[in-house]
Symmetry: C2
Subunit: 197 residues, 2 copies
Protein backbone atom coordinates (compact mmCIF):
# COMPACT_ATOMS: atom_id res chain seq x y z
CA UNK A 1 0.00 0.00 0.00
CA UNK A 2 2.89 2.33 -0.67
CA UNK A 3 0.81 4.76 -2.66
CA UNK A 4 -1.92 4.93 -0.07
CA UNK A 5 0.44 6.02 2.69
CA UNK A 6 2.04 8.55 0.42
CA UNK A 7 -1.33 10.13 -0.30
CA UNK A 8 -2.27 10.14 3.38
CA UNK A 9 0.99 11.91 4.14
CA UNK A 10 0.22 14.54 1.52
CA UNK A 11 -3.31 15.09 2.81
CA UNK A 12 -2.06 15.57 6.33
CA UNK A 13 0.87 17.70 5.19
CA UNK A 14 -1.48 20.04 3.36
CA UNK A 15 -3.43 20.54 6.58
CA UNK A 16 -0.26 21.12 8.61
CA UNK A 17 1.31 23.52 6.13
CA UNK A 18 -1.96 25.43 5.81
CA UNK A 19 -2.56 25.74 9.54
CA UNK A 20 1.01 26.32 10.75
CA UNK A 21 2.96 27.41 7.71
CA UNK A 22 6.02 25.71 6.24
CA UNK A 23 8.38 26.71 9.02
CA UNK A 24 5.76 26.07 11.67
CA UNK A 25 5.28 22.49 10.53
CA UNK A 26 7.49 19.86 12.14
CA UNK A 27 7.88 16.38 10.80
CA UNK A 28 7.54 14.63 14.16
CA UNK A 29 4.03 15.96 14.74
CA UNK A 30 3.06 15.38 11.13
CA UNK A 31 4.19 11.77 11.35
CA UNK A 32 2.58 11.28 14.76
CA UNK A 33 -0.80 12.39 13.46
CA UNK A 34 -0.49 9.57 10.91
CA UNK A 35 0.55 7.08 13.61
CA UNK A 36 4.02 6.60 12.18
CA UNK A 37 7.47 7.90 13.06
CA UNK A 38 9.28 10.76 11.46
CA UNK A 39 11.82 8.29 10.07
CA UNK A 40 9.07 6.52 8.16
CA UNK A 41 8.33 9.72 6.28
CA UNK A 42 11.78 9.45 4.74
CA UNK A 43 10.76 6.17 3.13
CA UNK A 44 8.34 8.16 0.99
CA UNK A 45 9.98 11.55 0.63
CA UNK A 46 13.57 12.73 0.59
CA UNK A 47 13.07 15.82 2.69
CA UNK A 48 10.60 18.28 4.15
CA UNK A 49 10.96 20.32 1.01
CA UNK A 50 10.14 17.29 -1.14
CA UNK A 51 6.88 16.92 0.79
CA UNK A 52 6.17 20.59 0.25
CA UNK A 53 6.69 20.27 -3.48
CA UNK A 54 4.52 17.19 -3.70
CA UNK A 55 1.77 19.03 -1.81
CA UNK A 56 1.93 21.85 -4.33
CA UNK A 57 1.86 19.35 -7.19
CA UNK A 58 -1.32 17.81 -5.90
CA UNK A 59 -2.83 21.20 -5.22
CA UNK A 60 -2.22 22.25 -8.77
CA UNK A 61 -3.80 19.07 -10.10
CA UNK A 62 -6.78 19.47 -7.78
CA UNK A 63 -7.30 23.03 -8.94
CA UNK A 64 -7.28 22.05 -12.60
CA UNK A 65 -9.58 19.12 -11.90
CA UNK A 66 -12.19 21.25 -10.15
CA UNK A 67 -11.90 24.71 -11.66
CA UNK A 68 -10.81 23.66 -15.10
CA UNK A 69 -8.00 24.76 -17.30
CA UNK A 70 -8.51 27.84 -19.44
CA UNK A 71 -9.90 25.62 -22.20
CA UNK A 72 -12.44 23.56 -20.29
CA UNK A 73 -15.42 25.87 -19.74
CA UNK A 74 -18.53 25.24 -17.65
CA UNK A 75 -21.83 25.40 -19.52
CA UNK A 76 -22.68 28.92 -20.61
CA UNK A 77 -25.73 30.12 -18.63
CA UNK A 78 -28.87 30.70 -20.66
CA UNK A 79 -30.23 33.40 -18.42
CA UNK A 80 -29.02 35.74 -15.72
CA UNK A 81 -30.75 33.64 -13.10
CA UNK A 82 -28.84 30.64 -14.33
CA UNK A 83 -25.66 32.67 -14.00
CA UNK A 84 -26.41 33.41 -10.37
CA UNK A 85 -27.36 29.83 -9.71
CA UNK A 86 -24.14 28.58 -11.22
CA UNK A 87 -22.06 31.15 -9.36
CA UNK A 88 -23.66 30.27 -6.04
CA UNK A 89 -23.05 26.62 -6.72
CA UNK A 90 -19.36 27.18 -7.39
CA UNK A 91 -19.19 29.42 -4.37
CA UNK A 92 -20.58 26.73 -2.10
CA UNK A 93 -17.90 24.35 -3.28
CA UNK A 94 -15.20 26.98 -2.87
CA UNK A 95 -16.29 27.84 0.64
CA UNK A 96 -16.84 24.31 1.94
CA UNK A 97 -14.44 21.92 0.27
CA UNK A 98 -11.71 21.28 2.83
CA UNK A 99 -8.92 20.87 0.31
CA UNK A 100 -9.81 24.13 -1.38
CA UNK A 101 -9.98 25.99 1.92
CA UNK A 102 -6.64 24.58 3.04
CA UNK A 103 -5.08 25.36 -0.34
CA UNK A 104 -6.15 28.99 -0.07
CA UNK A 105 -4.77 29.28 3.45
CA UNK A 106 -1.49 27.77 2.41
CA UNK A 107 -1.14 29.97 -0.66
CA UNK A 108 -2.08 33.13 1.21
CA UNK A 109 0.43 32.56 3.97
CA UNK A 110 3.32 31.24 1.90
CA UNK A 111 3.05 33.31 -1.26
CA UNK A 112 5.93 35.60 -0.32
CA UNK A 113 8.28 32.80 0.67
CA UNK A 114 7.83 30.44 -2.26
CA UNK A 115 7.82 31.20 -5.95
CA UNK A 116 5.39 28.46 -6.88
CA UNK A 117 3.00 29.43 -4.12
CA UNK A 118 3.10 32.97 -5.43
CA UNK A 119 2.12 31.89 -8.93
CA UNK A 120 -0.63 29.61 -7.70
CA UNK A 121 -1.90 32.41 -5.48
CA UNK A 122 -2.20 34.69 -8.50
CA UNK A 123 -4.20 31.96 -10.20
CA UNK A 124 -6.47 31.31 -7.22
CA UNK A 125 -7.10 34.89 -6.24
CA UNK A 126 -7.23 36.64 -9.57
CA UNK A 127 -6.56 35.21 -13.00
CA UNK A 128 -8.23 31.80 -12.67
CA UNK A 129 -11.80 32.81 -11.96
CA UNK A 130 -11.50 36.02 -13.91
CA UNK A 131 -10.50 34.29 -17.13
CA UNK A 132 -13.31 31.81 -16.81
CA UNK A 133 -15.93 34.49 -16.32
CA UNK A 134 -14.43 36.59 -19.10
CA UNK A 135 -15.21 33.83 -21.57
CA UNK A 136 -18.60 33.19 -20.04
CA UNK A 137 -19.56 36.86 -20.16
CA UNK A 138 -18.32 37.25 -23.72
CA UNK A 139 -20.64 34.42 -24.73
CA UNK A 140 -23.53 35.84 -22.76
CA UNK A 141 -23.05 39.20 -24.45
CA UNK A 142 -23.14 37.47 -27.81
CA UNK A 143 -26.35 35.76 -26.76
CA UNK A 144 -27.92 39.06 -25.75
CA UNK A 145 -28.07 38.29 -22.05
CA UNK A 146 -25.66 40.99 -20.90
CA UNK A 147 -25.05 44.55 -22.01
CA UNK A 148 -22.07 44.79 -24.31
CA UNK A 149 -18.95 46.09 -22.57
CA UNK A 150 -15.42 44.85 -22.04
CA UNK A 151 -16.04 41.29 -20.84
CA UNK A 152 -12.75 41.17 -18.98
CA UNK A 153 -13.48 44.32 -17.03
CA UNK A 154 -16.90 42.97 -16.22
CA UNK A 155 -15.49 39.62 -15.13
CA UNK A 156 -13.06 41.47 -12.92
CA UNK A 157 -15.84 43.53 -11.37
CA UNK A 158 -17.82 40.33 -10.80
CA UNK A 159 -15.12 38.14 -9.32
CA UNK A 160 -13.20 40.57 -7.10
CA UNK A 161 -15.98 40.86 -4.53
CA UNK A 162 -16.18 37.08 -4.44
CA UNK A 163 -12.47 36.78 -3.83
CA UNK A 164 -12.53 39.37 -1.06
CA UNK A 165 -15.48 37.81 0.72
CA UNK A 166 -14.20 34.27 0.43
CA UNK A 167 -10.96 35.42 2.04
CA UNK A 168 -13.02 37.10 4.72
CA UNK A 169 -14.84 33.82 5.25
CA UNK A 170 -11.53 32.00 5.69
CA UNK A 171 -10.65 34.53 8.38
CA UNK A 172 -13.98 34.44 10.19
CA UNK A 173 -15.85 31.24 9.30
CA UNK A 174 -18.53 32.00 11.88
CA UNK A 175 -19.71 34.86 9.66
CA UNK A 176 -20.30 32.56 6.72
CA UNK A 177 -24.10 32.86 6.57
CA UNK A 178 -23.92 36.65 6.50
CA UNK A 179 -21.15 36.59 3.92
CA UNK A 180 -23.13 34.22 1.73
CA UNK A 181 -26.07 36.61 1.80
CA UNK A 182 -23.80 39.52 0.93
CA UNK A 183 -22.45 37.73 -2.10
CA UNK A 184 -25.91 36.73 -3.23
CA UNK A 185 -27.09 40.34 -2.85
CA UNK A 186 -24.14 41.46 -4.91
CA UNK A 187 -24.93 38.94 -7.66
CA UNK A 188 -28.50 40.19 -7.92
CA UNK A 189 -27.34 43.78 -7.95
CA UNK A 190 -24.89 42.89 -10.67
CA UNK A 191 -27.44 41.34 -13.02
CA UNK A 192 -29.87 44.18 -12.32
CA UNK A 193 -27.22 46.56 -13.62
CA UNK A 194 -25.68 44.58 -16.46
CA UNK A 195 -28.45 42.13 -17.36
CA UNK A 196 -30.54 42.71 -20.46
CA UNK A 197 -34.09 41.48 -20.12
Amino acid sequence: MENNTKMKILDEALAFFAENGYKGTNLRDLAASLNITKSALYRHFDSKEAIWNAVLDRMEAYYIEHFGSSEKLPMVPRSCNELIEMSMHMLDFTMHDQKVILSRKLLITEQFRDERARKLAALHFLTGTKEMYTKLFAQMMENGLLKKTDPELLAFAYTSPITVLVQQCDREPEKEPMIRRQIEAFFHHFVSVYGKE
Copy 2:
Protein backbone atom coordinates in the same frame (compact mmCIF):
# COMPACT_ATOMS: atom_id res chain seq x y z
CA MET B 1 18.56 57.92 22.73
CA GLU B 2 16.63 55.04 24.17
CA ASN B 3 13.45 55.83 22.32
CA ASN B 4 15.24 56.22 19.04
CA THR B 5 16.75 52.75 19.19
CA LYS B 6 13.43 51.29 20.19
CA MET B 7 11.77 52.80 17.12
CA LYS B 8 14.58 51.61 14.86
CA ILE B 9 14.12 48.11 16.22
CA LEU B 10 10.41 48.25 15.48
CA ASP B 11 10.96 49.52 11.94
CA GLU B 12 13.40 46.74 11.21
CA ALA B 13 11.26 44.15 12.96
CA LEU B 14 8.29 45.08 10.79
CA ALA B 15 10.39 44.44 7.71
CA PHE B 16 11.68 41.14 9.04
CA PHE B 17 8.28 39.87 10.15
CA ALA B 18 6.74 40.92 6.85
CA GLU B 19 9.40 39.31 4.68
CA ASN B 20 10.07 36.15 6.67
CA GLY B 21 7.08 35.70 8.94
CA TYR B 22 7.11 35.51 12.72
CA LYS B 23 8.69 32.07 12.92
CA GLY B 24 11.06 32.85 10.09
CA THR B 25 12.45 35.88 11.86
CA ASN B 26 15.43 35.32 14.16
CA LEU B 27 16.63 37.84 16.65
CA ARG B 28 20.31 37.52 15.80
CA ASP B 29 19.81 38.64 12.21
CA LEU B 30 17.36 41.33 13.24
CA ALA B 31 19.87 42.73 15.74
CA ALA B 32 22.75 42.40 13.28
CA SER B 33 20.94 44.49 10.68
CA LEU B 34 20.79 47.23 13.32
CA ASN B 35 24.47 46.80 14.19
CA ILE B 36 23.78 45.61 17.68
CA THR B 37 23.75 42.21 19.37
CA LYS B 38 20.76 40.07 20.10
CA SER B 39 21.34 40.64 23.83
CA ALA B 40 20.93 44.36 23.34
CA LEU B 41 17.41 43.79 22.04
CA TYR B 42 16.51 42.53 25.48
CA ARG B 43 17.33 45.96 26.93
CA HIS B 44 14.32 47.28 25.01
CA PHE B 45 11.94 44.33 24.83
CA ASP B 46 11.26 41.38 27.08
CA SER B 47 10.89 38.80 24.35
CA LYS B 48 10.37 38.16 20.67
CA GLU B 49 6.65 38.20 21.29
CA ALA B 50 6.89 41.59 23.00
CA ILE B 51 8.53 42.95 19.83
CA TRP B 52 5.75 41.41 17.78
CA ASN B 53 3.09 43.07 19.88
CA ALA B 54 4.82 46.43 19.74
CA VAL B 55 5.04 46.13 15.96
CA LEU B 56 1.29 45.51 15.79
CA ASP B 57 0.66 48.45 18.12
CA ARG B 58 2.55 50.78 15.83
CA MET B 59 0.90 49.34 12.78
CA GLU B 60 -2.52 50.01 14.23
CA ALA B 61 -1.56 53.58 15.05
CA TYR B 62 -0.11 54.10 11.59
CA TYR B 63 -3.27 52.82 9.98
CA ILE B 64 -5.49 55.16 11.96
CA GLU B 65 -3.15 58.05 11.28
CA HIS B 66 -3.21 57.57 7.51
CA PHE B 67 -6.56 56.00 6.73
CA GLY B 68 -8.52 57.60 9.50
CA SER B 69 -10.87 56.23 12.06
CA SER B 70 -14.49 55.71 11.04
CA GLU B 71 -15.25 59.27 12.18
CA LYS B 72 -12.53 61.19 10.40
CA LEU B 73 -13.66 61.38 6.75
CA PRO B 74 -11.73 62.72 3.78
CA MET B 75 -13.36 65.59 1.93
CA VAL B 76 -16.46 64.47 0.03
CA PRO B 77 -15.75 64.70 -3.73
CA ARG B 78 -17.78 67.32 -5.60
CA SER B 79 -17.77 65.43 -8.86
CA CYS B 80 -17.14 61.94 -10.14
CA ASN B 81 -13.82 63.07 -11.57
CA GLU B 82 -12.83 64.30 -8.17
CA LEU B 83 -13.79 60.89 -6.78
CA ILE B 84 -11.47 59.18 -9.23
CA GLU B 85 -8.71 61.65 -8.53
CA MET B 86 -9.01 61.13 -4.80
CA SER B 87 -9.14 57.36 -5.17
CA MET B 88 -6.04 57.30 -7.36
CA HIS B 89 -4.25 59.50 -4.88
CA MET B 90 -5.02 57.14 -2.01
CA LEU B 91 -4.10 54.22 -4.19
CA ASP B 92 -0.67 55.67 -4.93
CA PHE B 93 -0.02 55.99 -1.23
CA THR B 94 -1.30 52.48 -0.55
CA MET B 95 0.85 50.97 -3.26
CA HIS B 96 4.08 52.84 -2.56
CA ASP B 97 4.37 53.58 1.14
CA GLN B 98 6.82 51.03 2.49
CA LYS B 99 5.21 50.73 5.90
CA VAL B 100 1.81 50.11 4.38
CA ILE B 101 3.17 47.50 1.99
CA LEU B 102 5.00 45.72 4.78
CA SER B 103 1.95 45.88 7.02
CA ARG B 104 -0.16 44.21 4.37
CA LYS B 105 2.41 41.47 3.83
CA LEU B 106 2.65 40.84 7.53
CA LEU B 107 -1.11 40.73 8.03
CA ILE B 108 -1.68 38.50 5.04
CA THR B 109 0.87 35.94 6.10
CA GLU B 110 0.19 35.93 9.83
CA GLN B 111 -3.58 36.34 9.94
CA PHE B 112 -4.22 32.67 10.71
CA ARG B 113 -1.63 32.44 13.48
CA ASP B 114 -2.41 35.58 15.45
CA GLU B 115 -5.75 36.88 16.60
CA ARG B 116 -4.79 40.53 16.41
CA ALA B 117 -3.34 40.12 12.94
CA ARG B 118 -6.59 38.51 11.87
CA LYS B 119 -8.63 41.45 13.07
CA LEU B 120 -6.31 44.00 11.53
CA ALA B 121 -6.41 42.02 8.28
CA ALA B 122 -10.20 42.26 8.20
CA LEU B 123 -9.84 46.00 8.67
CA HIS B 124 -7.18 46.41 5.98
CA PHE B 125 -8.71 44.15 3.38
CA LEU B 126 -12.39 44.74 3.82
CA THR B 127 -14.14 46.83 6.44
CA GLY B 128 -11.77 49.80 6.62
CA THR B 129 -11.94 51.10 3.08
CA LYS B 130 -15.49 49.89 2.58
CA GLU B 131 -16.85 51.87 5.52
CA MET B 132 -15.11 55.01 4.38
CA TYR B 133 -16.49 54.76 0.86
CA THR B 134 -19.93 53.86 2.18
CA LYS B 135 -20.12 57.23 3.91
CA LEU B 136 -18.61 59.01 0.94
CA PHE B 137 -21.04 57.43 -1.51
CA ALA B 138 -24.04 58.12 0.73
CA GLN B 139 -23.07 61.79 0.71
CA MET B 140 -22.52 61.79 -3.04
CA MET B 141 -25.94 60.24 -3.57
CA GLU B 142 -27.47 62.98 -1.41
CA ASN B 143 -25.65 65.52 -3.53
CA GLY B 144 -26.99 64.00 -6.73
CA LEU B 145 -23.63 62.80 -8.00
CA LEU B 146 -24.37 59.08 -7.89
CA LYS B 147 -27.45 57.06 -8.66
CA LYS B 148 -29.33 56.10 -5.50
CA THR B 149 -28.72 52.53 -4.43
CA ASP B 150 -27.46 50.83 -1.31
CA PRO B 151 -24.28 52.81 -0.59
CA GLU B 152 -22.67 49.93 1.27
CA LEU B 153 -23.19 47.54 -1.62
CA LEU B 154 -21.78 50.13 -3.96
CA ALA B 155 -18.78 50.76 -1.73
CA PHE B 156 -18.17 47.05 -1.62
CA ALA B 157 -18.35 46.79 -5.41
CA TYR B 158 -15.94 49.72 -5.66
CA THR B 159 -13.33 48.67 -3.12
CA SER B 160 -13.10 44.92 -3.71
CA PRO B 161 -11.37 45.26 -7.06
CA ILE B 162 -8.90 47.66 -5.46
CA THR B 163 -8.15 45.21 -2.68
CA VAL B 164 -7.65 42.35 -5.10
CA LEU B 165 -5.35 44.30 -7.40
CA VAL B 166 -3.31 45.81 -4.58
CA GLN B 167 -2.71 42.31 -3.29
CA GLN B 168 -1.74 41.28 -6.78
CA CYS B 169 0.69 44.18 -6.87
CA ASP B 170 2.26 43.01 -3.61
CA ARG B 171 2.78 39.63 -5.25
CA GLU B 172 4.16 40.92 -8.54
CA PRO B 173 5.44 44.48 -8.09
CA GLU B 174 6.89 44.46 -11.60
CA LYS B 175 3.35 44.51 -12.98
CA GLU B 176 2.50 47.69 -11.12
CA PRO B 177 2.10 49.96 -14.15
CA MET B 178 -0.35 47.58 -15.78
CA ILE B 179 -2.25 47.10 -12.54
CA ARG B 180 -2.50 50.85 -12.04
CA ARG B 181 -4.02 51.20 -15.48
CA GLN B 182 -6.48 48.39 -14.76
CA ILE B 183 -7.68 50.09 -11.61
CA GLU B 184 -8.00 53.41 -13.35
CA ALA B 185 -10.01 51.78 -16.14
CA PHE B 186 -12.25 50.20 -13.54
CA PHE B 187 -12.81 53.56 -11.83
CA HIS B 188 -13.88 55.15 -15.08
CA HIS B 189 -16.14 52.25 -15.89
CA PHE B 190 -17.65 52.55 -12.42
CA VAL B 191 -18.54 56.22 -12.71
CA SER B 192 -19.84 55.68 -16.22
CA VAL B 193 -22.30 53.17 -14.77
CA TYR B 194 -23.21 54.77 -11.45
CA GLY B 195 -22.40 58.42 -12.05
CA LYS B 196 -25.12 60.99 -12.63
CA GLU B 197 -23.85 63.87 -14.74
